[in-house]
Amino acid sequence: MDQELSDTDALARAAQGDKEAFGILYDRYVGRIYNYIYYRTGNQHDAEDLTSRVFTRAIRHIPKYEDRGLPFSAWLYRIAHNLVANWHRDNSRRQIVELDESYRLPSGQEQPEARVVRSEQEAVLMELVSKLPEDRQQLLILKFVDHLSNAEIGEVMGKTEGAIKSLYHRTLLSLRDEVKDLDPNHPLLQANGQGQ
């Protein structure tokens, strides 16, 4: 099977029962879906479990897939989003998403003290991100982890590009205000990528 098959063609074949065609789609999107779920759940075990469920559901329902002008990835993200929402509902007794120890491994080239400080800063920011509303979390993950453009994010989330830009701006403002509430001189607000 040609790995350069477009999503549309692979989807058409997969809908006819061609499992290899579905395999091509799987290879293309498993990393992105896994990343999305990993950052929404915070641990590898649940990320793997939910990723399996996403693709199991996808292969089961692909014969009924209707092309509504949106990319196939948007459909996968929608399935992932719904499963993660159910997961959060089932785990709603948790106030904070518990993070794997290996969730964010610090750089190996830093001094130990700098490494601890950076880890603490990252932990603070990660906690703030995990407390954001679902749509804002989804936006940040699609933007920074999956590197989607605003237009692509809009297709996945069912919003216009302008709405995504506006939501992104409001999300940054919200995070910045949360950090300032913690500490107006917090290091997070000092870092600017220059000389770092």
Binding site: G23, G31, Y34, Q190, A191, G193
Partner: protein
């Protein structure tokens, strides 16, 4: 002359700086994580089965597979026929040589 920073602009500059700082930290924090290879491979096998073997780099699909099989059959047949002809030629030459030797012996 140094650029004057007006008070009403200072707040905007601070805000932009803060937003850039938050954006930068998010870029550092939210980086792709590679799923376990065993997990990815096992899930793929569970969903679509084991990948089909490629013969000599050619996917075994449809007409390509048929062409490959036909080519193999024709090549094998050619080898067998060619081999048989070579053997037959060698045996034929030996018999001819034996015949000439016998005639010479008879002549003597």
């Amino acid at each position: 002359m140094n650029k004057i920073e007006w008070p009403w602009k200072r707040k905007q500059i601070t805000l932009e700086h803060d937003l850039h700082a938050v954006e930068y930290q998010l870029e550092q924090l939210l980086q792709p994580v590679k799923p376990r290879a065993e997990f990815v491979n096992q899930l793929r096998t569970d969903l679509v089965g084991k990948p089909r073997r490629k013969w000599l780099g050619v996917a075994s699909e449809g007409w390509q597979k048929g062409l490959l099989v036909a080519g193999g059959v024709v090549s094998f047949a050619a080898m067998v026929i060619g081999g048989a002809k070579i053997v037959g030629t060698i045996l034929g030459q030996r018999q001819t040589t034996k015949g000439r030797v016998s005639k010479k012996a008879a002549a003597l």
